[in-house]
Protein backbone atom coordinates (compact mmCIF):
# COMPACT_ATOMS: atom_id res chain seq x y z
CA UNK A 1 0.00 0.00 0.00
CA UNK A 2 1.20 3.52 -0.81
CA UNK A 3 2.42 5.65 2.10
CA UNK A 4 -0.52 7.46 3.71
CA UNK A 5 -0.32 11.23 4.33
CA UNK A 6 0.45 12.53 7.85
CA UNK A 7 -1.81 14.71 10.00
CA UNK A 8 -0.31 17.94 8.69
CA UNK A 9 -1.04 16.98 5.10
CA UNK A 10 -4.77 16.27 5.24
CA UNK A 11 -7.72 18.72 5.43
CA UNK A 12 -8.96 19.40 8.97
CA UNK A 13 -12.25 18.11 10.29
CA UNK A 14 -12.30 15.05 8.06
CA UNK A 15 -13.35 17.18 5.09
CA UNK A 16 -12.95 15.72 1.63
CA UNK A 17 -12.33 18.63 -0.70
CA UNK A 18 -13.48 17.08 -3.96
CA UNK A 19 -16.34 14.98 -5.22
CA UNK A 20 -16.40 11.45 -6.56
CA UNK A 21 -13.61 10.19 -4.31
CA UNK A 22 -15.34 6.92 -3.42
CA UNK A 23 -13.81 5.43 -6.58
CA UNK A 24 -10.37 5.83 -4.99
CA UNK A 25 -11.37 3.76 -1.98
CA UNK A 26 -11.01 0.14 -2.95
CA UNK A 27 -13.65 -1.68 -0.95
CA UNK A 28 -13.29 -4.91 -2.90
CA UNK A 29 -11.01 -6.30 -0.20
CA UNK A 30 -14.00 -6.43 2.16
CA UNK A 31 -15.62 -9.11 0.00
CA UNK A 32 -16.12 -12.66 1.25
CA UNK A 33 -18.42 -13.75 -1.59
CA UNK A 34 -17.82 -12.97 -5.24
CA UNK A 35 -20.62 -12.72 -7.83
CA UNK A 36 -20.21 -14.88 -10.92
CA UNK A 37 -22.16 -14.19 -14.08
CA UNK A 38 -23.52 -16.86 -16.41
CA UNK A 39 -23.56 -14.96 -19.70
CA UNK A 40 -25.72 -17.61 -21.31
CA UNK A 41 -28.58 -16.79 -18.93
CA UNK A 42 -28.08 -13.00 -18.75
CA UNK A 43 -30.70 -10.96 -20.67
CA UNK A 44 -28.99 -7.60 -20.05
CA UNK A 45 -32.10 -6.38 -18.24
CA UNK A 46 -29.88 -4.10 -16.12
CA UNK A 47 -31.66 -4.80 -12.81
CA UNK A 48 -28.28 -5.68 -11.26
CA UNK A 49 -26.94 -2.31 -12.39
CA UNK A 50 -29.96 -0.59 -10.84
CA UNK A 51 -29.64 -2.39 -7.50
CA UNK A 52 -25.86 -2.49 -7.03
CA UNK A 53 -25.08 -0.12 -4.10
CA UNK A 54 -21.42 0.19 -5.14
CA UNK A 55 -21.78 0.97 -8.85
CA UNK A 56 -19.74 -2.17 -9.41
CA UNK A 57 -21.64 -3.55 -12.43
CA UNK A 58 -19.61 -2.88 -15.57
CA UNK A 59 -21.85 -1.97 -18.49
CA UNK A 60 -20.92 -0.95 -22.03
CA UNK A 61 -23.30 -0.34 -24.89
CA UNK A 62 -26.24 -1.71 -22.90
CA UNK A 63 -24.43 -4.96 -22.20
CA UNK A 64 -23.69 -6.34 -18.74
CA UNK A 65 -19.98 -7.18 -18.99
CA UNK A 66 -19.14 -8.20 -15.42
CA UNK A 67 -17.97 -6.69 -12.15
CA UNK A 68 -15.63 -4.01 -10.89
CA UNK A 69 -14.02 -6.24 -8.29
CA UNK A 70 -12.02 -3.39 -6.79
CA UNK A 71 -15.28 -1.98 -5.44
CA UNK A 72 -17.74 -4.92 -5.26
CA UNK A 73 -18.20 -5.70 -1.55
CA UNK A 74 -19.90 -9.01 -2.32
CA UNK A 75 -23.24 -8.06 -0.80
CA UNK A 76 -25.13 -10.40 -3.13
CA UNK A 77 -27.99 -8.02 -3.93
CA UNK A 78 -27.40 -8.50 -7.68
CA UNK A 79 -27.68 -12.26 -7.34
CA UNK A 80 -30.85 -11.98 -5.31
CA UNK A 81 -32.52 -9.51 -7.70
CA UNK A 82 -31.48 -11.15 -10.99
CA UNK A 83 -34.80 -12.36 -12.50
CA UNK A 84 -33.14 -15.15 -14.54
CA UNK A 85 -30.74 -16.38 -11.83
CA UNK A 86 -27.71 -15.59 -13.98
CA UNK A 87 -25.64 -14.55 -10.96
CA UNK A 88 -24.36 -16.84 -8.24
CA UNK A 89 -22.30 -15.91 -5.20
CA UNK A 90 -19.13 -17.94 -4.79
CA UNK A 91 -16.96 -17.95 -1.69
CA UNK A 92 -13.90 -15.79 -2.17
CA UNK A 93 -11.65 -18.47 -0.66
CA UNK A 94 -12.30 -20.61 -3.74
CA UNK A 95 -10.53 -18.05 -5.91
CA UNK A 96 -7.69 -17.78 -3.41
CA UNK A 97 -7.21 -21.54 -3.57
CA UNK A 98 -7.16 -21.38 -7.34
CA UNK A 99 -4.64 -18.56 -7.50
CA UNK A 100 -2.47 -20.23 -4.85
CA UNK A 101 -2.90 -23.44 -6.59
Amino acid sequence: MAKQPGWKDIPIGGLILEGGTAVKYETGSWRSNRPELDKNKCTNCMLCWVFCPDSAIVVRESKMLGYDLEHCKGCGICARECPVKAITMVEETKFREESNG
Binding site: P5, W7, I10, I12, G13, G14, L15, I16, E18, G19
Partner: protein, 393 residues
Protein backbone atom coordinates in the same frame (compact mmCIF):
# COMPACT_ATOMS: atom_id res chain seq x y z
CA UNK B 1 -10.78 53.39 23.75
CA UNK B 2 -14.48 53.08 23.02
CA UNK B 3 -16.94 54.47 25.53
CA UNK B 4 -19.44 51.83 26.53
CA UNK B 5 -22.99 52.35 27.69
CA UNK B 6 -23.63 51.55 31.35
CA UNK B 7 -26.69 49.35 31.76
CA UNK B 8 -28.34 47.17 34.38
CA UNK B 9 -28.79 43.67 32.99
CA UNK B 10 -28.64 40.11 34.23
CA UNK B 11 -26.09 37.79 32.64
CA UNK B 12 -28.62 36.07 30.38
CA UNK B 13 -29.92 39.33 28.93
CA UNK B 14 -26.36 40.67 28.61
CA UNK B 15 -25.46 37.68 26.44
CA UNK B 16 -28.68 38.00 24.41
CA UNK B 17 -27.73 41.65 23.84
CA UNK B 18 -24.28 40.57 22.64
CA UNK B 19 -25.98 38.11 20.27
CA UNK B 20 -28.17 40.91 18.90
CA UNK B 21 -25.08 43.01 18.28
CA UNK B 22 -23.25 40.11 16.61
CA UNK B 23 -26.24 39.25 14.42
CA UNK B 24 -25.28 35.62 13.70
CA UNK B 25 -26.45 33.94 10.49
CA UNK B 26 -28.14 31.06 12.30
CA UNK B 27 -29.23 30.42 15.89
CA UNK B 28 -30.73 27.01 16.67
CA UNK B 29 -31.73 26.54 20.29
CA UNK B 30 -34.19 24.98 22.69
CA UNK B 31 -35.29 26.57 25.96
CA UNK B 32 -34.19 25.13 29.30
CA UNK B 33 -33.94 26.74 32.74
CA UNK B 34 -31.88 28.79 33.53
CA UNK B 35 -30.73 29.39 29.96
CA UNK B 36 -34.24 30.10 28.64
CA UNK B 37 -33.89 33.82 29.13
CA UNK B 38 -31.07 33.97 26.57
CA UNK B 39 -33.02 32.25 23.81
CA UNK B 40 -36.30 33.93 24.76
CA UNK B 41 -34.75 37.40 24.68
CA UNK B 42 -32.93 36.69 21.44
CA UNK B 43 -36.00 35.22 19.75
CA UNK B 44 -37.80 38.48 20.58
CA UNK B 45 -35.03 40.36 18.74
CA UNK B 46 -35.66 38.05 15.78
CA UNK B 47 -39.44 38.60 15.94
CA UNK B 48 -38.92 42.37 16.13
CA UNK B 49 -36.68 42.35 13.08
CA UNK B 50 -33.67 43.64 15.01
CA UNK B 51 -31.43 40.91 13.59
CA UNK B 52 -31.24 39.05 10.27
CA UNK B 53 -30.65 35.74 11.99
CA UNK B 54 -32.37 32.58 10.79
CA UNK B 55 -33.75 31.36 14.11
CA UNK B 56 -34.51 27.63 14.25
CA UNK B 57 -36.76 26.68 17.18
CA UNK B 58 -35.86 23.00 17.23
CA UNK B 59 -37.56 20.11 19.01
CA UNK B 60 -34.62 19.18 21.28
CA UNK B 61 -31.06 20.08 22.11
CA UNK B 62 -29.80 17.14 20.07
CA UNK B 63 -31.55 18.74 17.11
CA UNK B 64 -30.26 22.20 18.12
CA UNK B 65 -26.62 21.16 17.95
CA UNK B 66 -27.27 19.10 14.82
CA UNK B 67 -28.81 22.13 13.11
CA UNK B 68 -25.81 24.20 14.22
CA UNK B 69 -23.45 21.64 12.71
CA UNK B 70 -25.32 21.72 9.40
CA UNK B 71 -25.51 25.51 9.30
CA UNK B 72 -21.84 25.92 10.23
CA UNK B 73 -20.80 23.35 7.62
CA UNK B 74 -22.83 25.33 5.11
CA UNK B 75 -20.59 28.30 5.92
CA UNK B 76 -22.67 30.30 8.38
CA UNK B 77 -21.75 32.07 11.61
CA UNK B 78 -23.70 29.94 14.05
CA UNK B 79 -24.61 30.16 17.73
CA UNK B 80 -26.71 28.33 20.28
CA UNK B 81 -27.40 28.36 24.01
CA UNK B 82 -28.12 25.66 26.54
CA UNK B 83 -27.51 24.32 30.05
CA UNK B 84 -27.48 21.12 32.11
CA UNK B 85 -29.68 18.34 30.70
CA UNK B 86 -29.84 20.27 27.43
CA UNK B 87 -26.10 19.87 26.99
CA UNK B 88 -26.37 16.24 28.05
CA UNK B 89 -28.82 15.69 25.21
CA UNK B 90 -26.39 17.43 22.79
CA UNK B 91 -23.64 15.07 23.86
CA UNK B 92 -23.14 13.11 20.67
CA UNK B 93 -23.20 16.20 18.49
CA UNK B 94 -20.82 18.21 20.70
CA UNK B 95 -18.11 15.86 19.53
CA UNK B 96 -19.27 16.11 15.91
CA UNK B 97 -19.07 19.92 16.04
CA UNK B 98 -15.54 19.93 17.48
CA UNK B 99 -14.21 17.09 15.35
CA UNK B 100 -15.63 18.60 12.17
CA UNK B 101 -13.81 21.81 13.22
CA UNK B 102 -16.86 24.05 13.07
CA UNK B 103 -16.51 27.43 14.85
CA UNK B 104 -19.89 27.30 16.62
CA UNK B 105 -20.34 29.50 19.70
CA UNK B 106 -22.41 28.17 22.58
CA UNK B 107 -23.70 30.65 25.16
CA UNK B 108 -23.82 28.41 28.18
CA UNK B 109 -25.32 28.62 31.65
CA UNK B 110 -24.04 26.21 34.32
CA UNK B 111 -26.63 24.12 36.14
CA UNK B 112 -26.53 20.86 38.09
CA UNK B 113 -27.47 17.56 36.47
CA UNK B 114 -30.26 15.33 37.74
CA UNK B 115 -30.96 13.37 39.89
CA UNK B 116 -32.35 14.50 42.25
CA UNK B 117 -33.77 17.18 40.00
CA UNK B 118 -32.05 20.51 40.58
CA UNK B 119 -32.14 23.66 38.46
CA UNK B 120 -29.44 25.61 40.31
CA UNK B 121 -25.80 26.22 39.62
CA UNK B 122 -22.94 23.83 39.62
CA UNK B 123 -20.42 22.98 36.93
CA UNK B 124 -21.20 19.28 36.43
CA UNK B 125 -22.80 19.92 33.05
CA UNK B 126 -20.04 21.65 31.12
CA UNK B 127 -17.24 19.92 33.05
CA UNK B 128 -18.64 16.64 31.81
CA UNK B 129 -18.05 17.89 28.27
CA UNK B 130 -14.44 18.84 28.93
CA UNK B 131 -13.08 16.16 26.62
CA UNK B 132 -15.43 16.94 23.73
CA UNK B 133 -12.93 19.24 22.03
CA UNK B 134 -14.58 22.60 22.74
CA UNK B 135 -12.78 25.67 24.04
CA UNK B 136 -14.29 26.31 27.47
CA UNK B 137 -14.34 29.77 29.09
CA UNK B 138 -15.78 30.78 32.48
CA UNK B 139 -17.14 34.18 33.54
CA UNK B 140 -17.05 35.76 37.00
CA UNK B 141 -19.95 38.15 36.40
CA UNK B 142 -22.37 39.48 33.78
CA UNK B 143 -19.76 41.85 32.34
CA UNK B 144 -17.40 38.98 31.69
CA UNK B 145 -20.21 36.86 30.24
CA UNK B 146 -20.98 39.68 27.78
CA UNK B 147 -17.28 40.19 26.95
CA UNK B 148 -16.67 36.44 26.57
CA UNK B 149 -19.65 36.11 24.22
CA UNK B 150 -18.11 38.61 21.82
CA UNK B 151 -14.55 37.28 22.06
CA UNK B 152 -15.74 33.69 21.62
CA UNK B 153 -16.66 34.35 17.99
CA UNK B 154 -13.17 35.59 17.15
CA UNK B 155 -11.51 32.76 19.08
CA UNK B 156 -13.69 30.11 17.43
CA UNK B 157 -13.18 31.38 13.91
CA UNK B 158 -9.41 31.75 14.35
CA UNK B 159 -8.88 28.32 15.93
CA UNK B 160 -11.60 26.60 13.89
CA UNK B 161 -12.84 25.09 17.12
CA UNK B 162 -16.23 25.53 18.76
CA UNK B 163 -16.29 27.67 21.91
CA UNK B 164 -18.58 27.36 24.90
CA UNK B 165 -18.48 30.24 27.32
CA UNK B 166 -20.35 29.84 30.55
CA UNK B 167 -21.95 31.82 33.33
CA UNK B 168 -23.15 30.48 36.67
CA UNK B 169 -26.85 29.62 36.60
CA UNK B 170 -29.07 32.16 38.41
CA UNK B 171 -26.10 33.66 40.28
CA UNK B 172 -24.97 35.42 37.10
CA UNK B 173 -27.69 34.54 34.60
CA UNK B 174 -30.49 36.03 36.71
CA UNK B 175 -28.62 38.50 38.91
CA UNK B 176 -29.00 42.07 37.64
CA UNK B 177 -25.63 43.84 37.56
CA UNK B 178 -24.09 47.03 36.32
CA UNK B 179 -22.16 46.45 33.16
CA UNK B 180 -20.93 48.28 30.10
CA UNK B 181 -22.10 47.30 26.67
CA UNK B 182 -20.28 48.39 23.53
CA UNK B 183 -21.80 50.36 20.68
CA UNK B 184 -23.31 48.03 18.02
CA UNK B 185 -20.83 49.16 15.39
CA UNK B 186 -17.86 48.43 17.67
CA UNK B 187 -19.02 44.85 18.18
CA UNK B 188 -19.64 44.48 14.46
CA UNK B 189 -16.13 45.75 13.65
CA UNK B 190 -14.50 43.62 16.35
CA UNK B 191 -15.96 40.34 15.12
CA UNK B 192 -15.67 41.29 11.43
CA UNK B 193 -17.20 39.08 8.79
CA UNK B 194 -16.78 35.33 8.62
CA UNK B 195 -15.92 33.60 5.40
CA UNK B 196 -15.77 29.84 5.72
CA UNK B 197 -12.84 28.35 3.82
CA UNK B 198 -14.77 25.33 2.59
CA UNK B 199 -18.53 26.03 2.80
CA UNK B 200 -20.78 23.14 1.89
CA UNK B 201 -23.01 25.51 -0.11
CA UNK B 202 -20.21 26.39 -2.54
CA UNK B 203 -21.54 24.17 -5.31
CA UNK B 204 -18.70 25.15 -7.64
CA UNK B 205 -16.32 23.37 -5.27
CA UNK B 206 -18.20 20.34 -4.00
CA UNK B 207 -16.86 18.85 -0.76
CA UNK B 208 -17.87 16.15 1.65
CA UNK B 209 -18.43 16.83 5.34
CA UNK B 210 -18.59 14.08 7.93
CA UNK B 211 -17.49 11.03 5.94
CA UNK B 212 -16.70 7.73 7.61
CA UNK B 213 -13.17 7.85 9.04
CA UNK B 214 -11.63 4.44 9.43
CA UNK B 215 -8.58 3.38 11.50
CA UNK B 216 -6.24 4.55 8.74
CA UNK B 217 -7.09 8.26 9.22
CA UNK B 218 -9.01 8.76 12.52
CA UNK B 219 -5.89 9.18 14.67
CA UNK B 220 -4.52 11.83 12.30
CA UNK B 221 -7.75 13.84 12.60
CA UNK B 222 -7.57 13.62 16.42
CA UNK B 223 -3.93 14.74 16.27
CA UNK B 224 -5.04 17.82 14.31
CA UNK B 225 -7.49 18.67 17.11
CA UNK B 226 -4.66 18.45 19.64
CA UNK B 227 -2.67 20.85 17.49
CA UNK B 228 -5.58 23.30 17.28
CA UNK B 229 -6.04 23.20 21.06
CA UNK B 230 -2.30 23.73 21.59
CA UNK B 231 -2.46 26.88 19.48
CA UNK B 232 -5.64 28.18 21.19
CA UNK B 233 -3.93 29.83 24.23
CA UNK B 234 -2.09 32.28 21.97
CA UNK B 235 -5.31 33.12 20.17
CA UNK B 236 -7.26 33.60 23.42
CA UNK B 237 -4.52 35.93 24.75
CA UNK B 238 -4.31 37.90 21.50
CA UNK B 239 -8.08 38.38 21.21
CA UNK B 240 -8.25 39.28 24.93
CA UNK B 241 -5.50 41.89 24.47
CA UNK B 242 -7.21 43.42 21.46
CA UNK B 243 -10.50 43.52 23.35
CA UNK B 244 -8.70 45.22 26.22
CA UNK B 245 -7.25 47.90 23.96
CA UNK B 246 -10.77 48.57 22.78
CA UNK B 247 -12.64 48.44 26.08
CA UNK B 248 -10.10 48.71 28.91
CA UNK B 249 -11.01 45.16 29.96
CA UNK B 250 -8.11 42.90 29.02
CA UNK B 251 -8.47 39.13 29.19
CA UNK B 252 -6.05 36.22 29.33
CA UNK B 253 -6.43 32.58 30.28
CA UNK B 254 -6.21 33.33 34.00
CA UNK B 255 -6.55 36.29 36.34
CA UNK B 256 -4.10 36.28 39.27
CA UNK B 257 -5.35 38.31 42.24
CA UNK B 258 -2.88 39.45 44.91
CA UNK B 259 -0.86 36.38 44.11
CA UNK B 260 2.71 37.66 43.71
CA UNK B 261 3.74 37.53 47.37
CA UNK B 262 0.98 35.15 48.49
CA UNK B 263 1.88 32.24 50.75
CA UNK B 264 -1.47 30.49 50.46
CA UNK B 265 -3.77 30.60 47.44
CA UNK B 266 -7.12 29.47 46.17
CA UNK B 267 -7.84 28.35 42.59
CA UNK B 268 -11.41 28.92 41.47
CA UNK B 269 -13.48 29.71 38.40
CA UNK B 270 -16.88 31.31 37.84
CA UNK B 271 -18.79 33.61 40.16
CA UNK B 272 -17.13 32.30 43.34
CA UNK B 273 -13.95 34.06 42.19
CA UNK B 274 -15.72 37.32 43.10
CA UNK B 275 -16.63 36.07 46.58
CA UNK B 276 -13.09 34.81 47.06
CA UNK B 277 -11.57 38.20 46.17
CA UNK B 278 -13.55 39.75 49.05
CA UNK B 279 -12.10 37.12 51.39
CA UNK B 280 -8.57 37.66 50.09
CA UNK B 281 -8.94 41.41 50.75
CA UNK B 282 -10.22 40.77 54.29
CA UNK B 283 -7.37 38.35 55.07
CA UNK B 284 -4.81 40.77 53.63
CA UNK B 285 -6.24 43.35 56.06
CA UNK B 286 -5.35 40.94 58.87
CA UNK B 287 -1.82 40.49 57.55
CA UNK B 288 -2.38 37.08 55.93
CA UNK B 289 -0.55 36.66 52.62
CA UNK B 290 -3.56 35.23 50.78
CA UNK B 291 -4.01 35.19 47.01
CA UNK B 292 -6.31 33.89 44.31
CA UNK B 293 -5.89 32.40 40.86
CA UNK B 294 -9.03 32.71 38.79
CA UNK B 295 -9.17 30.47 35.76
CA UNK B 296 -10.97 31.94 32.78
CA UNK B 297 -10.06 29.15 30.37
CA UNK B 298 -10.55 25.55 31.41
CA UNK B 299 -10.05 24.18 27.88
CA UNK B 300 -7.38 24.74 26.83
CA UNK B 301 -6.16 24.30 30.41
CA UNK B 302 -3.70 27.12 31.23
CA UNK B 303 -1.02 24.82 32.66
CA UNK B 304 1.78 27.30 31.97
CA UNK B 305 0.07 30.10 33.91
CA UNK B 306 -0.90 27.75 36.73
CA UNK B 307 2.71 26.62 37.20
CA UNK B 308 4.12 30.16 37.08
CA UNK B 309 1.46 31.44 39.50
CA UNK B 310 1.42 28.62 42.03
CA UNK B 311 4.59 26.58 42.03
CA UNK B 312 6.24 28.53 44.84
CA UNK B 313 3.20 28.79 47.10
CA UNK B 314 3.24 26.90 50.39
CA UNK B 315 -0.30 25.55 50.13
CA UNK B 316 -3.08 25.78 47.55
CA UNK B 317 -6.77 24.93 47.74
CA UNK B 318 -8.57 24.16 44.49
CA UNK B 319 -12.31 24.78 44.54
CA UNK B 320 -14.44 22.51 42.37
CA UNK B 321 -18.12 23.05 41.71
CA UNK B 322 -18.53 19.50 40.38
CA UNK B 323 -17.56 15.97 41.32
CA UNK B 324 -15.75 13.20 39.57
CA UNK B 325 -17.12 10.23 41.48
CA UNK B 326 -14.47 7.62 42.06
CA UNK B 327 -11.79 9.97 40.80
CA UNK B 328 -9.16 11.60 42.97
CA UNK B 329 -10.91 14.97 43.10
CA UNK B 330 -12.82 17.47 40.99
CA UNK B 331 -11.73 18.33 37.44
CA UNK B 332 -10.05 21.66 38.31
CA UNK B 333 -8.10 19.96 41.11
CA UNK B 334 -6.89 17.14 38.90
CA UNK B 335 -5.76 19.51 36.14
CA UNK B 336 -4.03 21.80 38.62
CA UNK B 337 -2.20 18.89 40.26
CA UNK B 338 -1.12 17.51 36.88
CA UNK B 339 0.19 20.93 35.82
CA UNK B 340 2.10 21.45 39.07
CA UNK B 341 3.52 17.92 39.13
CA UNK B 342 4.91 18.30 35.64
CA UNK B 343 5.95 21.92 36.23
CA UNK B 344 8.03 21.16 39.33
CA UNK B 345 5.65 22.76 41.83
CA UNK B 346 6.26 22.22 45.51
CA UNK B 347 2.88 23.49 46.78
CA UNK B 348 0.71 21.23 48.94
CA UNK B 349 -2.61 21.09 47.07
CA UNK B 350 -5.99 20.17 48.52
CA UNK B 351 -9.43 20.05 46.96
CA UNK B 352 -12.71 21.55 48.15
CA UNK B 353 -16.03 20.64 46.58
CA UNK B 354 -18.47 23.53 46.92
CA UNK B 355 -21.74 24.98 45.70
CA UNK B 356 -23.29 21.76 44.38
CA UNK B 357 -26.86 22.19 43.15
CA UNK B 358 -26.70 25.92 43.92
CA UNK B 359 -25.62 25.63 47.60
CA UNK B 360 -24.67 29.16 48.67
CA UNK B 361 -20.94 29.71 48.86
CA UNK B 362 -20.34 32.33 51.52
CA UNK B 363 -17.19 34.29 52.44
CA UNK B 364 -16.84 32.41 55.74
CA UNK B 365 -16.66 29.11 53.84
CA UNK B 366 -13.84 30.45 51.68
CA UNK B 367 -12.14 31.78 54.79
CA UNK B 368 -12.25 28.30 56.33
CA UNK B 369 -10.46 26.98 53.26
CA UNK B 370 -7.74 29.59 53.70
CA UNK B 371 -7.55 28.69 57.39
CA UNK B 372 -6.96 25.06 56.45
CA UNK B 373 -4.13 26.17 54.17
CA UNK B 374 -2.56 28.21 56.96
CA UNK B 375 -2.77 25.16 59.22
CA UNK B 376 -0.89 23.17 56.59
CA UNK B 377 1.87 25.76 56.55
CA UNK B 378 2.22 25.74 60.34
CA UNK B 379 1.76 22.04 61.08
CA UNK B 380 3.01 20.60 57.80
CA UNK B 381 0.04 18.26 57.88
CA UNK B 382 -2.62 18.34 55.17
CA UNK B 383 -6.23 17.32 55.74
CA UNK B 384 -7.79 14.80 53.37
CA UNK B 385 -7.24 15.70 49.71
CA UNK B 386 -10.97 15.84 49.05
CA UNK B 387 -13.08 18.05 51.31
CA UNK B 388 -16.43 19.81 51.22
CA UNK B 389 -16.85 23.51 51.94
CA UNK B 390 -20.38 22.89 53.11
CA UNK B 391 -21.95 19.52 53.85
CA UNK B 392 -24.07 18.37 56.79
CA UNK B 393 -22.69 15.31 58.59
Amino acid sequence: MVKGKVVALDGAKAVAEAMRQMNPDVVAAYPITPQTEIVQTFSQFVADGKVDTEFIPVESEHAAMSACVGAAAAGGRVQTATTSAGMALMWEVLYVAASTRLPIVMHFVNRALSAPLNIHCDHSDSMGARDAGWIHLFAENAQEAYDNAIQSVRIAETCMLPVLHTQDGFIISHGVERLEILPDQTVKDFIGTYKAEHPLLDTDHPIMVGPVDLPDFYTEHKRQQVDAMEKAPQVIRRVGQEYGTLTGRTYGLVEPYKLDDAEVAIVVLGSTAGTSKVVVDALRGKGVRAGLLKLRAFRPFPAEEVVVSLKDKAAVAVLDRSMSFGGQGGPVFLETCAALYNGGGRARVINYIYGLGGRDTTPDQIERAFQALLNITTTGKAPALLNFLSVRE
